[in-house]
């Protein structure tokens, strides 16, 4: 069994979600990924 089931959206919820996802990314979102990139590079990966 998976750790959590995947969500299924229906009706207004689905419509609202699709609308949001198809909009361009916000400035805040872009900044999150800039910070994430820095963190990712800073964390050394060991196999």
């Amino acid at each position: 069994m998976r750790p959590e089931p995947a969500p299924v959206l229906t009706g207004k919820c689905a419509k609202e979600f699709v609308k949001k996802v198809e909009m361009p990314l916000t400035q805040k979102n872009i900044e999150v990924f800039k910070e994430a990139e820095k963190v990712y590079k800073a964390i050394k990966k060991v196999k």
């Binding site: 750790p3 995947a6 609202e16 949001k20 996802v21 963190v39 990712y40 964390i43 050394k44 196999k47």
Partner: protein
């Protein structure tokens, strides 16, 4: 901080999270999720379990007969994310979360990944909001909330 896969560590002396880590080990054995341990000064300070997932959005346009359009969004699910009690308040959790977010971006270059999702409730909702996650529409009043973060394309 160092990140390594769970199986790379032979001995885990982390009593508080040991039962949770045992569960994650089982998921990993079955290839249902991969747990990444984060070490600082040779001590485990946190872990995160990542799983492939997807969001299914069933859209019913106002047509008769009703024809349902289904949209699928591939997503990376943060199954579990925890920080050692001794390392709380030091941005360890935030950095682990950001690491997961960037992992999704890296994945999107090769296999397609549109979102990072997490199912959470209580205090962690604020934590994920601070990182940049949003609550799914109509999920605000639910005890356990699905949250998502969009992965930029390209």
């Amino acid at each position: 901080m160092i990140c390594l896969r769970l199986f790379a560590v032979k001995m885990i002396a982390w009593d508080l999270m040991s039962s949770s880590i045992r569960k994650q080990k089982q998921f990993q054995k079955e290839n249902l999720g991969v747990t990444h341990l984060f070490l600082y000064n040779n001590q485990i300070v946190g872990f995160a379990t990542l799983v492939m997932s997807q969001i299914e959005a069933k859209l019913a346009p106002y047509l008769f007969p009703v024809k349902i359009e289904i949209k699928y969004y591939p997503a990376l699910l943060i199954g579990r994310l925890a920080t050692h009690n001794d390392y709380r308040g030091r941005n360890v959790g935030k950095n682990i979360c950001l690491w997961c977010v960037e992992t999704a971006k890296q994945l999107s270059k090769t296999i397609g990944c549109r979102l990072v999702i997490v199912l959470t409730g209580g205090k962690p909702v604020l934590f994920y909001k601070k990182v940049g996650f949003e609550i799914f529409p109509k999920c605000e009043k639910k005890l356990r909330k699905w949250m998502y973060l969009q992965v930029p394309s390209g």
